[in-house]
Symmetry: C2
Subunit: 203 residues, 2 copies
């Protein structure tokens, strides 16, 4: 028998709800015999292409709500969360590093992605900085110099661009955005619906 189709998980490393989903989705998928393909993308490009705005824009009632909801949703899921000093921030270095690592060792790339999320949303590290990205990688035993070189190559830059284009073509408009057998789920709050979908094969 063939393996069932993997779940696609699209996210930006600067997305708090993406962080919550990243901590949960592999376990939920595994409970139903599914694997997950992780795809870091750049939400700024997605928002520009789709005409959306981040919910945290400005000093509105909604922005204040969302800031509180990040905390509360993390507590709800039993996860640590400390609001980063600088937020949101550019994530192309982390995303490029992910794709390069994925070409070498996909399990290591997964551990790296989780480490980036925790560095940003728990330890308040500036994951936009190439040095921070290299430090996180080095802590996982990845060759710092080799990764530094890879981040500058046109191939790695083109890979991230291609993934963002794929996301747009697939109808991804935010983070986290999960696709299970063609069904789209947007937001960490759709986890219960994803679980039901996996249990029932669609409802």
């Amino acid at each position: 028998m063939n393996d069932p189709t993997p779940i696609d998980f699209w996210f930006d490393f600067s997305s708090p709800y993406g962080y919550l989903m990243a901590e949960k989705i592999d376990t939920v998928a595994a409970q139903h015999g599914r694997k997950v393909r992780w795809h870091p993308i750049l939400l700024g490009v997605i928002f520009q292409a789709t005409g959306s705005r981040p919910p945290t824009d400005g000093d509105s009632a909604k922005a204040r709500y969302v800031a509180n909801d990040f905390h509360r949703s993390a507590r709800f899921h039993g996860l640590p969360y400390n609001p980063p000093s600088r937020f949101p921030l550019p994530t192309q270095n982390a995303a490029r590093a992910y794709y390069w690592l994925h070409g070498q060792d996909c399990a290591l790339a997964r551990r790296f992605a989780l480490a980036v999320y925790r560095a940003f949303f728990v330890d308040d590290r500036d994951i936009s900085s190439p040095d921070t990205v290299l430090d996180i990688a080095a802590d996982l035993g990845i060759d710092r110099q080799q990764l530094a070189t890879a981040l500058q190559t046109p191939e790695v830059k083109a890979r991230l661009k291609a993934e963002v284009d794929r996301a747009l073509a697939a109808g991804v408009f935010g983070s986290p955005h999960v696709i299970v057998d063609g069904e789209h789920f947007f937001g960490a709050d759709r986890l219960p619906q994803i679980e039901r979908w996996l249990e029932t094969g669609g409802f």
Copy 2:
């Protein structure tokens, strides 16, 4: 002992997620000895004041997602849902009728509000029309002529306006928007967090 503080439930009769919350919130509240105060408001006014846009605007990937998510979220909650032919639509007649009824008999006003939601999201009736609003009321034994007269009074119009102003002052920016002891919850997907909040007194 005094009764615990009631929960405030703000919604627009044209909001699909508001409909889902309306079908659930009283039961969830009652399980924790709480009552709910319902406040229909006009989302158009709220969006204009807060600079927000409805998620259903245009023919975007997000708009298509949301249209599907309305269906799926209703099925997830075991509720019927038929996309209305005309959507969204103005809801001031239904909201004004609610507030007038509430002054007479608050339990009847609650039944009326649920009947309006079901008329719109299950039976595809045009709840923007005063005649439809009067028909829904008459089916509940409400005096049609008396309500028709009430809908034209400055008092009833002012009451709805005052509720929308109160919503804005309270930080309401969408529908459904639930406030429990000062804590804000936006969206039908926050029901599990509302339940946890009521169980634990805050988490």
